[in-house]
Each structure stands twice: as C-alpha cells, then as structure tokens.
C-alpha cells in the first residue's frame, strides 16, 4: 500500500478481518531464491558457520579445481578469471556500501578504483621516481588515499540528492581519468610497468606473485574480501548500519529522528571509496601494469550493474553480481564484444521480473538480533488475528 492513500471506505467487519489476516502475514518476497533465504535463516548459528566454512574452502580451491564446463579455458586462463571475479566482487561489496546501504547513487566509482591503482603503482613501480615502499604496505595506503578522496568528493557534494549527486559523481569519475592523462607525473597512456607484488620466491626462482599466475593473487584477494565482508557485516548491524538504512529509506525522516545524515553519508562514501581503492591496488599489482585506459565511465556502469544485478543492499548479492559480471565475458569470449548489450538486456529483464536483484536485501531486525526477531514474528503469526479482533472491538 502506498503512503499517499486517500481516504478509504469504512470496511465491514469481515473485510477488515481479512485485511488484518492478510497483512499480518509477513510478506515474503517471492521468486526463485526466496525459499533458499528462508531455509538459511532457519539454520542454527553453528550450522550456518559450518556451511560457510565449506563455501570458503570451495572458494579457495576454485582456481585449482578448474571445473569442466564452468572453466573459461581455453579462451582465458582460469586462475586469472577467478582473480577478475574476486576483484569485481570486492569492488561490488565496496560500491554496495554506498549504493546499497546508504542509497547514494555513485556513477563514478571507478575513480576510487583508479586512485587505489595509481597509489599502488606510484609507490612500487620502477617507472615512478617517488618514494618506494613494499607492495603490501600500499594496500592500506591506497585505502587511506581513496578514503581521503571520498571525503574530498563527499563533503561538497553530499548535500545534493538523488539524480544531482549521480551527475556530480559521474563528473568526478571523468575528472580522475582526465587528470591521469594530463598530469605528467601520472604518465598518461604510457603508464607504469612492473607494479610491485608481495614478497616470496618459488622453487624455480620466479616470484610467487607473478603476473602470469593468478592463483596466489586470487587467494590474496579473497582473503582481503573475507576480512572486508566481516567488517562490512559488523557495520551493517551497528548503529551506523541502521542510520544508513534510515537515510536510504527516507532522508528527511532520518534527520528528524536524530540521525546526523550528512555525517553518515560522508562515512558511507569514505568507506566505499576505501574498499574501491583497495581493490584498485590489488588489481594494479596483479596486472603489473596500469595506464589511463581502464578507468572509463563504462567500467563505473559495469560496477553499478554488478551491485544492482546481485541485489542492492545485500553483500552476498554484491559478491554474486560482481563475480557474474566479471565471469560472463571471460567465459563466453565469443560474446565479449557484446557484453554491454547483453548486460543491458539482462538488466532490463531482471528489473521486470526481479526488481530487487538476484538476492534481494532484507535487513534483519536491526536492534534486536535474529532470535528476538524470530520470536516476535512467530508470535505475531500465531496470535495476531484473534488479538486484532479484540482491539478492533475496543477501538470503535
């Protein structure tokens, strides 16, 4: 029912009762994945952990398993495909903080990815004349620099809303790309070769983290991804997460509930930017080379498509969306040239049949935890109709 309902006819007792019964049954979002989500929520905590452990083990084993049919070979190296999927998943998790949690449409997210990439390259590549630091140190540094840029962009622009914010972020994405072209120190199209990598040498004398071997990079990336997921999950359940959901749903209402909306929006932007920077640094290290070519608007749109496809506001959905968006063109090389066409069609179809993405978000009862929520839900299912009739009598 919309919030702008006009006056309704006073219903008779039976219709009233039907409406109460209907509305007190919590609406479950239908579709293919809904029973899965229900089944997951019914599992006990230890069962969920055990299941997650299996998923994590499979995730780590993925590049080694090289499952037939799923594998992207012979077209593309499978471990590198896995790596691309993991990096896209990480990007999607970061963008999901901005778009999914706080509801801020960011069309220039690639800018933070670029900032992270350039930070890693300029601190490690022999082509860069500046201070050199070990590669692993560039990960937190890239995160911090990207967060700084997030705040820098956020403070003047987050007073804007909706479409206006989207336009400004779109512009910011282009500004970063163009700066990379015109600032001599950023070396435009020539770019930076031999971006650093973590230490370690294999038995044959080559570094473990070489640019041709995706597996160690993949492991590093999903380890980072798991850490970020744990942090994001905690944020989601905290006071900050509640504030974000409130801002996303109704910014004015959030403000008059005592939520400092501006502060929390800047935080969402900064945290999202930090994760974007981190994935940029990982990507730069794994590829070993960056120049100004990869950071265009299309890439931003692709990132956004990953979040929307997976289910905006759901971090598991973001991982799925990111992985799918990276996987499809690498697996089906014949269609790679048409990937934007195909993603466009897929998104249109998805918006018609599943507007909330593959795995829609449903925030838990934020303040009371799962157990209390289940209890309340069970009680309201069991007791509501009779209790409702009682007050119906007294209300009149």
């Amino acid at each position: 029912m919309s919030t702008t309902d006009g006056p309704t006819l006073i219903p008779d007792a039976k219709a009233e009762q039907d409406a109460i019964t209907r509305e007190s049954n919590r609406t479950t979002r239908g579709g293919f994945f809904a029973p899965l989500a229900d089944r997951w929520n019914r599992l006990s905590r230890p069962q969920q952990w055990a299941f997650l452990l299996v998923v994590v083990v499979i995730a780590y084993a993925l590049p080694v398993l090289n499952p037939p049919l799923i594998t992207s070979e012979p077209g593309n190296d499978w471990p590198i495909t896995c790596l691309q999927m993991a990096i896209f998943a990480l990007v999607a998790v970061g963008l999901n903080v901005v778009v999914g949690y706080a509801g801020l449409l960011d069309l220039g997210y690639v800018a933070f990815f670029a900032v992270g990439s350039y930070t890693a390259a300029m601190f490690t590549s022999p082509d860069s004349p500046y201070l050199h630091i070990p590669y692993l140190w560039t990960l937190p540094v890239a995160m911090a620099v990207a967060m700084f840029f997030g705040v820098l962009l956020g403070v003047p622009t987050l007073r804007l809303r909706g479409d206006y914010l989207a336009i400004v972020t779109l512009g910011f994405g282009e500004i970063v790309r163009i700066l990379a072209t015109i600032i001599p120190a950023m070396k435009g199209q020539v770019g930076f070769q031999n971006v650093g990598h973590p230490p370690g040498t294999a038995a044959d004398g080559h570094p473990i983290f070489s640019n041709s071997n995706g597996t160690p990079w993949y492991w590093l990336t999903i380890t980072v991804l798991i850490v970020i997921l744990l942090l994001a999950g905690n944020l989601e359940r905290s006071r900050v997460g509640r504030a974000w959901v409130a801002i996303r749903e109704d910014e004015d209402a959030a403000e008059i509930m005592g939520v400092p909306t501006f502060k929390y929006k800047v935080w969402a932007f900064a945290i999202g930017a930090g994760i974007g920077g981190l994935s940029g640094a990982l990507s730069a290290g794994a590829t070993g080379f960056i120049n100004n070519q990869k950071f265009d608007v299309q890439t931003s749109i692709l990132f956004l498509a990953a979040v929307v496809l997976g289910g905006s506001g759901n971090k598991v959905g973001a991982i799925l969306g990111g992985a799918v968006v990276a996987y499809l063109p690498l697996r089906f090389t014949a269609i790679a040239d048409y990937k934007y066409l195909i993603f466009g069609v897929v998104l249109v179809v998805l918006m018609i049949f599943r507007a909330k993405g593959l795995l829609p978000a449903r925030q838990r009862l934020l303040a009371y935890g799962k157990v209390a929520y289940a209890r309340v839900a069970a009680r309201s299912r069991a007791g509501s109709p009779t209790a409702a009739t009682k007050t119906e009598g007294t209300a009149k």
Partner: protein, 237 residues
C-alpha cells in the same frame, strides 16, 4: 512557561516567500493548533521548527535557548520531535525497527523499554503488528506509527503535521483522542491541521495561517466561534 518561541521568522524557497514575519509562542503543557488552507505555510512552519528548513530571518528559541541555526538532528536531542507530513515511516522497516529509529538520538537508553510500553499502550494496533513492514500498513496505521516513533524520542515538544490527512472519519476521532491523551501525559503538542474543527476543539490555543502570515489567534473556543473562521474553515457561515 514558554517552551517554544518564534520571533519574526521568514522562510523562502528561492525567491518565493512561504512564511512572512511570523511570531508565536507555545507554552509548556499546551496543545496549540495551526490551521490554514493548502499553501498557507503550515508544513513550512513545522519544517522550520524541526530544522529541515532554515529561516531567512528571525529567531527560534526552545526552552530559553536560541536554536535558529541548530541542525535538525540536534534539535531532536534537545527535545523537539516531529511526525512528518505524509507520515514518513521507513517503508522497508518493521514496526519495531521504525520505533527503534525514534530512539536514535537518545544518549540515555534506560527509558527505551518504558517508551515501547507507552507507545504500545497508546496504539495497541502497533503492538499486534510489531514485525509488519511499515510500507504495507494502512494509512491510519502508518500515522499511528509515525506518532509512536516521534514519541520514542521522549520529546518535550511533539510536532504533528496533518495527523488526520487522508484518514477515515473514524480514525480521525481516534487519532485526536490519542493526541489529547499524549498531552495529558505531559508532552507539549504543536499541531497543524486542515481539519479545523477537530484541531480547534482539542487545542488550548490556535492560530490561523493565511498565505504565510498569522491572521487570527485566540483560544480554541474563541476561534471556533469566530464567524470569519467558521465561514472559511468550518464550512458553515
């Protein structure tokens, strides 16, 4: 004792002035009603008091403190809470989550439990629907939820923006009797309404707004008896 005072407040949207040189005060413990037609500046007044809009000139004091430039979320902590126009419940949150958002600004959380009990005793309907998602509720229930959520902030001054808008007559009477009950529990209430009859009957004092200025003021009874107001707002004349 004066709780809220507006002095010569003017508010504009761009070049268009929505409120012109408005002054009025609300005493502690009162119900004060602002009535007026569409576009008279009622909601603008409310948003200016809650802090969503900034006045171009004039000053607002709350409990002796100048809050003219204070951000909206800090005003909540000071004790001003608003149930916004169009209800403004969080559509994707359950009743419990919506109510809990009302406590966001509270530093001392010891009264939260009592706050839930108070809201559920005022609105038994909400107690039955704790886990229902706000967006799927009927208009009247959303209005209850919006008022309940505003009460969770333990306000000293409760701002109600058109609580009767779009409701069935039976619900309107119910909402107004609950508003009186909230007031008797010690919360000062400032109400804007198009439903002048109910609003003035329940109010200690009332003001009539026309195109951004106050044209009449007096006790609720005086205004109800005023022939000009009868004709313009009560549909009799």
């Amino acid at each position: 004792m004066t709780l809220l005072e507006l002095k010569n407040v003017s508010v504009s949207y761009g070049r268009i002035e929505a409120i012109h040189d408005m002054s009025f005060a609300v005493d502690e413990g009162e119900i004060v009603s602002l009535i007026g037609a569409n576009g008279a500046g009622k909601s603008t007044t409310m948003k200016t008091i809650s802090g969503l809009l900034n006045p171009r000139s004039g000053s607002i004091t709350f409990d002796g403190e100048d809050i003219t430039k204070m951000k909206a979320h800090i005003r909540v902590v000071k004790g001003i809470s608003q149930a916004p126009e169009g209800r403004g419940v969080f559509p994707g949150m359950t009743v419990l989550e919506n109510l809990d958002m009302g406590t966001f600004g509270l530093k001392d959380r010891s009264g939260v439990k009592a706050g839930f009990d108070r809201v559920f005793s005022l609105f038994p309907r909400l107690a039955e629907r704790k886990s229902q998602v706000g967006g799927t509720m009927s208009g009247g229930e959303q209005q209850m939820l919006a008022i309940g959520r505003a009460l969770m902030a333990q306000p000293r001054l409760l701002l109600l923006d058109e609580p009767s808008m779009g409701l069935a007559p039976q619900f309107i009477r119910q909402i107004f009797s609950i508003i009186t009950e909230i007031n008797q529990q010690g919360t000062t209430i400032l109400l804007v309404e198009q439903n002048a009859n109910q609003a003035l009957t329940r109010a200690n004092r009332g003001f009539v707004l026309e195109t951004g200025s106050i044209t009449h003021s007096g006790t609720g009874k005086e205004l109800l008896a005023n022939p000009a107001i009868k004709e313009a707002y009560l549909g009799v004349g």
